[in-house]
C-alpha cells in the first residue's frame, strides 16, 4: 500500500515539473520566434523604413540627374524609367560607407538583380551586386550573422528586360 502511494506521488511531481519546464520552453520559443520584444520590433521597423527609402531612391534618377560618384547628392540608378548602366557603374564606385550615408541608413545593405526565374544577373563580369564588401547574396547570414535582416524586391526595366532588384538590409 505504502509503495503504491509513494509511486503515485513521485509520478505527479515528475509530471508537474516536466509540464512547467515544457511550458517555459514553449513560451521562450514563441517569444523568440515571433520577435515580440519591443527592442526587436523597433529594429525591424527601422530596417523596413530604411529599405523602402533605399528602394525608392534607387529607382529614381538620383540628383543631380546626370550625377557621378564625385557630385552625387542622391543615388538613383535610372534614366527614363530604365536602369542606366552608367549610373549603376558610378554607384558601384562610391565607397561603401559614403554610399550608406547617401542612402540615409546606418545599416548594412546589399543590392543585386535577378531575372524572372530568380537567377542572378551580374552587374558586370566581376560584380554580382553592390553593397557591403565581402558579402554576396548567399552568404549574408553566415558571414554577417545579422540580428535582423529585411529584403525588398522592386521590378525594373534593365537592358530591355524586366528584372527584379533585390535589396537586403540588416543590422
Amino acid at each position: 500500500m505504502l509503495s503504491i502511494l509513494t509511486k503515485a506521488q513521485v509520478f505527479s511531481l515528475d509530471l508537474i515539473i516536466a509540464m512547467l519546464v515544457f511550458g517555459s520552453a514553449i513560451l521562450i520559443y514563441y517569444k523568440n520566434i515571433t520577435n515580440l520584444s519591443d527592442q526587436d520590433e523597433e529594429l525591424l521597423d527601422d530596417l523596413l523604413i530604411d529599405v523602402k527609402s533605399i528602394s525608392n531612391s534607387l529607382v529614381s534618377q538620383g540628383y543631380p540627374y546626370n550625377w557621378n560618384k564625385d557630385n552625387v547628392v542622391r543615388i538613383g540608378i535610372t534614366d527614363n524609367n530604365r536602369v542606366s548602366e552608367e549610373k549603376l557603374a558610378e554607384f558601384s564606385k562610391i565607397p561603401y560607407k559614403e554610399s550608406k550615408k547617401l542612402l540615409g541608413t546606418i545599416y548594412d545593405y546589399y543590392v543585386f538583380f535577378t531575372d524572372r526565374n530568380n537567377n542572378i544577373m551580374q552587374i558586370n563580369s566581376s560584380l554580382e551586386g553592390i553593397g557591403k564588401p565581402g558579402v554576396n547574396f548567399t552568404n549574408i547570414q553566415t558571414v554577417e550573422n545579422p540580428k535582423k535582416l529585411v529584403k525588398v524586391t522592386r521590378l525594373i526595366v534593365k537592358e530591355s528586360e524586366i528584372e527584379k532588384m533585390v535589396i537586403y538590409l540588416w543590422d
Binding site: 509503495s3 519546464v21 524609367n81 547570414q141 540580428k147
Partner: protein, 609 residues
Amino acid sequence: MGLKKGFFFTVDSIIGAGIITIGILLLYTFYIVEPSYTSLGYSSHDIINALSELKINEVNNPYVDELISTGEITNPENTILEQIGEFWALDKTDKAGNLTKEFTNDFIDENLGFGFYIEGEEIYSRIKSNDGISMTSKKMISGIQRYRTREGFTARAIATKVTKNTTEVFMINPEGSSHGPGTTADIIKKFYINSSDVIKATLFLTVHWGTSATPSNDFDLNGVPTNIGNPWLYTQEKDVTHIGFDFVDITNDVISGWNELKIKFLIQSDDHTHIHPGSKIIVEYESTGKFVPSKLVEKRFYFDNVLSKGGNNLNKATGAWSVLPIFVPKGVIIKNATLHIVGKDLKSFGIPDGVPEKGNVQLYLNDEKIEILNVTGTLNKTYDIKDSLGEGTNVVSVYLNCYPDYFFGEGETLLYSDPENDPEDSSYVEIEYEIIDTTKLQYGKIDVSLIESFDGSMSNGKSYTKDFGDYDIIESFIQVAQLDSGIVSVNANSQNVFTTPRPLATPSSIYIDSDYLIEGENNFDVSDSCSDCYILNETTLQYYVLIPSLVGYGQIFDTEEDAVSDAEERLNLLLGDYVKATQINKEVNPVGGVPSLWGPIIAEVRVWH
C-alpha cells in the same frame, strides 16, 4: 526503496528540462528573422510601369516572336501595355491574357494574388485568397475602340507617265561688237529645244548702239526676220549713245531641235554696239519625264559665235568679246571646271595706251586674270579654272582684239562657237561637280521650271516677293533686265548672292541656291550702283520645283471605285496646273477589321494579399 526511485525520476526531468532549455537558447542564437517586405503598392506600380516602358521590338521573348511571325502583332513600336490594349480592342482577349501572363506572372511574388484589367474587364488574374487588402495602379493608354471595326477599300495613285509645262531660259549674255562707222558684228546664238510642243516663245533684247537714234540692226530667227526693236519698248540716251529694250513673240518661229538666232549689228557712228543684260529667249513647252537626280553633274555652256568685221584701219578696228556665267551650287565638290576658248583671225594694230593689260587676248574669271596673251591667227586653248571658282555665279570674260571701249583688231575677229556642228572645237565653259548635300537628291519627283516677271515699273532698285508654298525648290535664277547697266547687286532674303565682278560682266542669268530660300515669303532685291541704270519690270525669277508623282493610301471607302476616285483626285490636286498625268497606276487595298481609334482607356493592375 520506492521513495528513492521517485527522487531519481525528478532529477531526470530537471536534467531533461535543462537540455531542452539549452537547446532552445542555442536555437535562438542561430535564428535570424528575414521578413521579405513585399509592398502591394510597389508590385502594382512597378509592373504597370515596366509594361508601359518595354517595347515589343526590344523584348527577347518566344511568345512575342511567335505573335510577330504569325502577324498577330503588326506594330512592333507598341509597348507591351499598348499591345495588350490592342489585343483587347480587337477582341483577342486570350492573346491579351497570355501576353499579360508572360510579362507579369513570374515577377509578382507568388504569395500575392493579382489581376490585370482594361476598362474594368479582367484580362488575366492569379487567384489567391484575399484578406481584404489590395492595391491598384492604373495607366491611361491610347485606345482602339472595341467592336467598332469596319471593312472597306483604300487606294493610292502613281503618275507613271506625265506631261508637264516647263519653261526654259536661253541666255543671251552681254557681248559684241564692232567699232567705227560701217563695221559690222554678226552674233549667232544656237539653242536646242527638246520638245515639239512649244506653247510660247519670247525673245527679249537690250541693245546698246551708237549715236544715231535709229539703229541699223537686223535680227532673224531660223531665217525669218524678227520684228524686234521696231519700235523699242523702252529707250535710254546715255552719253549721246542709245540703248533700247524690247521683246517679241517668236512662238511661230522656233522649232523643235536646233534653232539659230542671228543678230547683225551695223555700226553707224561712234562707239560700239553690243548686248546688255536683259537679253534672253524664254520658251515654254510641253515635255515628258521625271526628275532623275544625279550625284555627279556635268554642265557645259557655249559662248555665242561673235564675228566682228571691219578692221581696214584703226578707226574701223574689230574686236569680239563676250561674258558667260558658271553656276556653282552650295553643297558640291567641284571635280573639273574648264574654259575652252577658240578665237580666229586674230591680229591687232597694237594695244592702245589706255588698255591696262598689254595683250590682244584677255581672259578673266570674275575679276581675276586667267591669262593675257598676244596671238596672231588662231587661239585654241583650254584652261583649268576649278580652283578659282566660288559658290554661286562666276563670270568668265573673254576679250579678243579689244578691251571695251578700246578696239584694235586688224581685219576680222572671230570668237568661234558652233555647238550644233562643232561642239568640241567651240568656245565653252564646262563644269563637273559632285553633290554631297543629299537633300538635293530627290527621287521620284517631277521637275518643272517656272518663270515670273517682276511687277511694277522700272526703278533702281527693284524688289520682288515670292512665296513658294509647299513646293520643293531645287534652284532658282534671276534674269536681270536693264537698259544701261553698271555694277548690279542681287540679294535673296537680304543675303548678297551676286555683284558684278568687273565692267560689262553682268550675265544674263544669276544663280540663287535653294539654301538662300526660306519658307513663306522670299524677298529678292536687285539694284545697280549707277543711279540711272534702272531694273526693268521684265526682270524674271525662274525657279525649278519638284512635284511628287504619287499619293499614298488615303481614307477608307465602302467601294473600290470611291477609293480610286479619291486617289486620282488627290494626285491631280498634287500635280497642280503644271503637270498632267497621262498614265496613272492605281493600287487598291481591301482593308478589313480596321479598328477605329478613339480616346484613352484605362489599364489597371490590382495586387492583393
